[in-house]
Point group: C2
Chain length 216, copies 2
């Protein structure tokens, strides 16, 4: 696949408006177009300037992500795109870059993109009951989510796809902690617990300056 | 090393009495003698009968454990023995097989024996800061303890060293959960949190029938 056939600059205003809606239909687009749209999200959210992301590294990163999704019925690259697009739409709608800062937005977008990397198509219950390699490696503790996250940082360890290479070590530490927290939170076994915490935060009055609220 | 040179039957009553003391000096014994003493602990605690452990499988298991400790200054096979011996002494002193049942005692003894398997000699802080393979694999979450535990169950996956092979799937599930809980609890970063819970349990009045107390 030629990643460079589709230019991010060619995205029309009409497409941008659609991309910001929760009703965006990803099925109309090819994989390479989806990659270009992902690239556009980084740009549109102001992340290229904020973190000195360069075009080639970001494209390499996204292409590595693409290659590391499997052709499984659901948890494939298109699912990754759908989740990232919904996150992007919410970031724009809620004006998150201004409210929580670009670092948190970067964490949310990268986590969405990476959250099911190398998914084998079978869930955690299967992994644990079948005593698979992943269950054995992760001691039955969110084996899939731990694996997705580990693959994400293996991609980021590659010099050519390390979009975080210009960060200070303190920034990198925060981003790494944030992405790990977000991806591990996608284990549906933890859904009710996290949702209850979020509801409590909303009932208290959601506070954009409260780190424990932001982390939800 | 010949594992069969030293017979468990030849352990004198005097040695047994020493083995039950917290002051037992492991430095007087060779590695093969320590292996025989570990074997004796299983026997003395009634675990051979309770779980139909056979001599050859238990010896194979212990030898695999021995082979999977590294020659590092501290977290080596002798350290494994020291921790297991202290656990054995406490089990005998507190009459734990009767108080908490053989399954819990099996979990405690196997966890002690396996708790530092394949330790590379550098701590978690080093692993995380140096972005080692283990930190990358385990997303900075107790990378060493997760690895020790994973190695333990890889040994137990081998038919010839699977001391749990005669268990029902329900028993195996409990043992696996217990060993994972115990080994992950050896991360010293969690020491204060767990110790505080234990102190609370003791202040409330330690209850041998309360699972949350037993799990401490």
């Amino acid at each position: 696949m030629c990643l460079f056939c589709y230019s991010e600059d060619a995205i029309s205003e009409e497409v941008v408006q659609c991309l910001r809606l929760s009703s965006f239909d990803s099925m109309q687009w090819s994989d390479e177009e989806l990659l270009a749209l992902l690239y556009f999200m980084f740009s549109d959210l102001g992340l290229l300037e904020a973190f000195k992301l360069d075009l080639v590294t970001l494209r390499n990163f996204l292409f590595q992500v693409y290659k590391n999704y499997n052709e499984v019925p659901f948890h494939n690259f298109r699912h990754c795109f759908c989740v990232a697009q919904m996150m992007y739409a919410m970031c724009v709608k809620a004006d998150l870059p201004k409210r929580v800062g670009e670092l948190e937005v970067l964490i949310l977008l990268v986590s969405s993109i990476c959250h099911d990397l190398d998914h084998p198509g079978y869930n955690n219950i299967y992994q644990i009951n079948a005593r698979t390699e992943l269950a054995l490696r992760y001691n039955d503790i969110s084996p899939l989510e731990n694996h997705h996250c580990s693959i994400a940082f293996r991609i980021l360890e590659l010099e050519e796809s390390n979009i975080f290479k210009h960060m200070t070590s303190e920034e990198f530490k925060l981003v790494r902690e944030g992405i790990i927290r977000c991806i591990l939170a996608t284990d549906m076994a933890r859904h009710n617990e996290i949702l209850a915490q979020f509801r409590d935060a909303v009932l208290q009055g959601f506070d954009y300056y409260n780190k424990s609220h932001i982390n939800l």
